[in-house]
């Protein structure tokens, strides 16, 4: 007998309903204050889902308000289903990141699949055609059978949904860290393209307009905490009949996309809202509240998939693939025709009113959609009370006593005094890093994703950013998503700021100008002061970095309570950035291009190996320092690289990220199919220079004749520049020179190389085998050629 089946000490009836629904006594008082009376059971159920963390952002709202949201390109910022930024020519891009962590932990395939479905709906609700998906995935130890099961299921689920709806998955990240063992993260970013004139808002204006629900019928999916109501309603009924796992139907979603976009393009809807968390309750209350209206819902008109559903089940069901449109009565026939042609059922379920209330009735409405005398009113709640006037907390934050030195949850207990910064064979370390689960080729994942459907994909997958061209223009879009969990584990502020810097750098190295930031904040239980402190530090980090880099935050998502019996996840601010390339033909890629090109390092290493992949490989780094981030320096570097790309100086460019400079160089060489002969000045420790992950560095190559122009740009922006050598051959050779290297020489053992010298084939082999080996899949055949 599992814990949940154990006989309750307190009989269920002794626990008041609101508490069973997760509503605190204090919150119940707040609800009473807003209603001026006691809520009935249905109203309580509606409040419980709308005042959940997921819908109300009650713990994070005070923090999110501090984020910068304004910018010259912003068309729609936070508060809408997705942020929208202009890219000129009357075109705009909608993009957003969202989590589906908990559903994916329970049922990885369906959890991830419905996560993709949910974020796509946020995009096309705005009037944008979804054109790209990126996924930020975090798991525990790849050798653990449970992790393998989760990774397989989640990757299949992301692909299963995205491939079927026909939106290419062009990027993302897969990160293993022990703290995610009991609580994986599945964050999905979607990007859509729209004509600005088709921008659609999630509003319910115009009393008398109709509320039309279209898409799948409503079943008992995703009825979580409120299922306690079911026992009140159904007595002894088998709880297994109340499935809370949602099953995705990408085929239905594809039809929903086409129907929705056609409705928008033909100007048939006044407002459009997808149904996500809290289902119909959320959709009607948010659209009404935004428009300052009310909505009357005729419960009996809502198409159901199952018989015998209780009113609360219908009102809070999270059945997938549904949309709510607000329609003028005279356009209803056309709306029904469009939906019908796409095979999408549609039903009028209510009307916009002017009383500011969400009213739920049963027993019939008159021709005007208004209640008859005999009609029973099941619920009547001010729309604002459910949404904009929902409860907000200012929670206590408390930083942990060991801020930087506390080992991350799951990290090995014993700390080594120092990392082996001397006496190592750098080539062996590089192969070890490329062969590690976090840095190896992602082909095992990306071959399961359709990256080319849509015929717009210019670059995908292994690169820093995915690039799409925009048909009918010379433009391109660069998209990336990043988190820096390794550093976030020690310092949530720094981890979040680094993630913003890295993600926008990833977009910039393609030559694209970043337009905006979306984010997904994955944290623990906000009621624990330490977890709330982590969240508030991370928001501060995102805000500071965005201000320094001149980037508006246009939207995002917050996922809290990411904890398991094994502990809390490390603070994880997942960042998404979209940028525009004026001429996609002139994009810059990381691939080394041509023998004789000069390899140049822009920026310089700062000490601090904690949180790096090198530290993870070496075993432990809890005594080490963290790298530091100088946001002014980062901004200058980003301005410089954009100027260099625009001037056409760059033959290639790659951001220095996980695994440090050596890994960045190895990637440029492997993907370009050509090596390099380099020498690196080592001022302090070879490990810091080669494998440290200090930010604000980019490796570029230029034609020899272009070096002076690059140097001039670097000088102009105050960026340190160091030519390292030249492209050529089939090996990556890095000679270590300077004071730091000389000091190390004495300690070098007889078998240790003086320089890093590896055949590309050996690097590629390590890199290609990393992930299949980590996941124990020996049947996978990596694609030949460049990733």
């Amino acid at each position: 007998m599992s814990a949940s089946e154990a006989p309750r000490v307190i009989p269920a009836a002794a626990v008041p309903l609101h508490r069973q629904l997760g509503v605190t006594d204090f919150e119940l008082d707040e609800i009473r204050a807003r209603l001026g009376r006691d809520p009935n059971d249905l109203e309580l159920a509606m409040f419980s889902v709308m005042w959940s963390e997921h819908c109300s952002y009650k713990s994070s709202k005070v923090l999110l308000r501090t984020l910068p949201t304004a910018g010259p390109d912003v068309v729609a910022g936070p508060g809408e289903n997705a942020g929208v930024v202009s890219i000129g020519d009357g075109l705009a891009v909608a993009f957003k990141l969202e989590s589906h962590n908990h559903p994916s932990a329970v049922e990885p395939y369906q959890g991830a699949a419905t996560g993709v479905g949910g974020i796509l709906r946020d995009i096309f609700t705005m009037g944008a055609r979804p054109i790209a998906v990126l996924d930020g995935l975090k798991f525990g130890d790849p050798a653990a059978p449970r992790t393998r099961h989760l990774v397989r299921g989640v990757v299949r689920g992301v692909g299963g949904y995205g491939n079927c709806v026909g939106v290419p998955t062009i990027g993302g990240e897969l990160v293993f860290h022990p703290s995610y063992g009991g609580n994986p993260l599945v964050n999905v970013m979607a990007v859509g393209l729209l004509e600005e004139r088709h921008l659609t808002r999630a509003v319910a204006p115009g009393p008398g307009n109709l509320a039309v629900l279209f898409g799948s019928a409503t079943g008992r999916d995703g009825i979580g905490g409120a299922s306690v109501l079911a026992s009140a309603t159904f007595g002894e009924d088998d709880p297994s009949k109340r499935p809370s796992v949602q099953v995705g139907d990408p085929f239905a979603e594809k039809l929903l996309i086409e129907a929705s976009l056609e409705l928008i393009q033909r100007g048939l809807v006044e407002g459009l809202q997808d149904l996500g968390a809290a289902g119909i309750t959320c959709a009607v209350s948010e659209t009404a509240d935004r428009a300052g209206t009310g909505i009357l819902v005729d419960l009996d008109a809502i198409p159901r998939r199952e018989e015998g559903m209780a009113p609360f089940e219908v009102m809070i069901s999270e059945s997938q693939e549904r949309m709510l449109a607000i329609v003028r009565p005279q356009r209803l026939d056309e709306v029904v025709e469009v939906c019908g042609r796409w095979g999408v059922p549609a039903a009028v379920i209510g009307r916009v009113t002017d009383d500011g209330l969400v009213t739920v009735v049963t027993g019939g409405v008159d021709d005007r959609g208004m209640p008859r005398p005999a009609t029973e009113v099941l619920a009547a709640i001010p729309a604002a009370a459910l949404t904009s006037d929902a409860i907000v907390y200012d929670r206590p934050a408390q930083h942990p006593t060991h801020r930087r030195l506390a080992p991350a949850p799951g990290a090995p207990e014993s700390a080594s005094d120092h990392l082996p910064v001397r006496g190592m064979d750098p080539g062996a370390v590089l192969r070890g890093l490329l062969g590690s689960p976090n840095l190896g080729s992602r082909a095992w994942v990306t071959t399961q994703y359709d990256a080319t459907v849509g015929s717009d994909t210019v670059e995908a997958s292994e690169r820093a950013a995915g690039i799409l061209r925009i048909k009918g223009t010379s433009k391109g879009l660069a998209c990336a998503t990043d988190a820096v969990a390794g550093v976030g584990a020690f310092d949530p502020y720094l981890g979040a700021a680094l993630a913003v810097a890295e993600c926008s750098r990833n977009v910039l190295v393609t030559g694209a100008r970043p337009l905006g930031v979306t984010n997904c904040l994955n944290f623990g239980d906000p009621e624990k002061p330490e977890a709330f402190w982590q969240l508030s530090e991370a928001v501060r980090g995102v805000g500071d970095a965005c201000r320094a880099l001149g980037l508006p935050v246009t939207g995002g998502n917050v996922s809290l309570y990411n904890e398991s019996p094994d502990g809390r996840i490390v603070p994880t601010a997942q960042i998404g950035v979209v940028g525009v390339l004026d001429d996609v033909e002139r994009r810059v890629t990381p691939r080394f291009r041509q023998a004789g090109d000069i390899v140049v390092l822009l920026g310089e290493a700062v000490p601090g190996l904690a949180g790096s992949e090198y530290a993870a490989l070496a075993g432990s780094a809890v005594e080490e320092r963290l790298p530091s981030l100088d946001l002014a320096r980062e901004a200058a570097l980003q301005a410089m690289i954009l100027a260099a790309a625009r001037a056409g100086v760059l033959a290639s460019a790659q951001d220095v990220g996980g695994g440090g400079l050596a890994v960045a160089l190895a990637e440029c060489a492997m993907w370009g199919g050509v090596g390099a002969r380099l020498s690196l000045r080592v001022s302090a420790e070879p490990a810091v220079e080669l494998f440290g992950e200090s930010p604000s560095r980019i490796v570029v190559t230029v034609r020899p004749a272009d070096l002076p122009r690059l140097a001039a740009l670097a000088a102009e922006h105050g960026i340190p520049l160091e030519p390292l050598g030249e492209v050529g051959g089939d090996r990556l050779q890095i000679e270590l020179v300077g004071g730091g290297a000389a000091g190390a020489a004495e300690e070098r053992g007889a078998n240790v190389a003086d320089a890093l010298d590896c055949a590309l084939a050996a690097l590629r082999h390590a890199w290609e085998q990393a992930l299949p080996r980590a996941l124990g899949d020996d049947e996978f055949t990596p694609p030949p050629g460049d990733g």
């Binding site: 491939n163 709806v165 026909g166 594809k254 095979g343 080319t452 459907v453 015929s455 210019v458």
Partner: protein, 232 residues
């Protein structure tokens, strides 16, 4: 010449096919699956995607769409039909080309760039392909493992109905028998292939080899009347 691209519910490469057909110099029009009217198209493309979600078995539900009767007639009259990926699965389920497409041997969805050898250049689909050239284009499917019982397979080979094979270095992504990537019907007018030529129609996207197939069709029908070139 006019290319018609069938839009089934769940097709998701229909726009790509229309775009590529236009790049190849054709006039391209969408054809709605409920309407059995080919709008005068000389070539009908059944595009990639997941018609009816690929539920039950890839291609099987689409096979019963009203437009398929018109496609069948078109083929019977010697009109050209090209099924790409899901379109190939529909053609196979409908019996318009021989064989069945089983789940990939890896049991995974496979998105990869592959290389195709062109087994015959005397067909309306391949006449513009230079001798000896391997065509580079992506595959993206979960059920593309070509199967025919042994005896039928021998007959297929003998009659020259194998048109494309997966070639080195990437090789066979799905376990198809005889590395078969695309086949012809007995009359040589209907072609099904798993890889996506329409996604390889511009150098910017990595390859324009796929355009050669569409150019071949445009050339074959330059005078408006498809020339018949039956397989050996």
């Amino acid at each position: 010449m006019r290319v018609g691209v069938v839009v089934f519910p769940g097709s998701n490469c229909d726009r790509d096919a229309l775009h590529a057909a236009r790049l190849a110099g054709a006039e391209a029009v969408p054809l709605w699956h409920e309407t059995p009217d080919l709008r005068g198209a000389g070539l009908v493309i059944l595009p990639g995607g997941f018609a009816y979600g690929d539920y039950l078995r890839a291609g099987v539900l689409a096979r019963f769409s009203p437009i398929m009767a018109a496609v069948r007639d078109h083929a019977a009259r010697g009109g050209l039909v090209l099924g790409i990926c899901n379109g190939f699965q529909v053609l196979a389920e409908a019996g318009l080309v021989p064989g069945a497409l089983l789940r990939n041997a890896s049991l995974r969805f496979e998105h990869r760039w592959v290389r195709l050898s062109v087994e015959r250049r005397d067909t309306p689909f391949t006449r513009a392909v230079p001798e000896g050239m391997l065509l580079r284009m992506p595959v993206a499917h979960g059920e593309g493992c070509y199967y025919l019982p042994d005896a039928d397979l021998d007959r297929l080979e003998a009659s020259g109905q194998v048109l494309f094979r997966y070639a080195a270095p990437e090789g066979n992504p799905n376990g198809s028998l005889h590395d078969i990537a695309g086949v012809l019907d007995a009359g040589g007018r209907v072609c099904g292939l798993m890889p996506h030529p329409e996604r390889a129609a511009e150098a910017l996207l990595g390859s324009d080899d796929g355009l050669l197939l569409l150019r071949s069709v445009v050339e074959s029908t330059a005078d408006g009347i498809p020339r018949v070139s039956a397989p050996r």
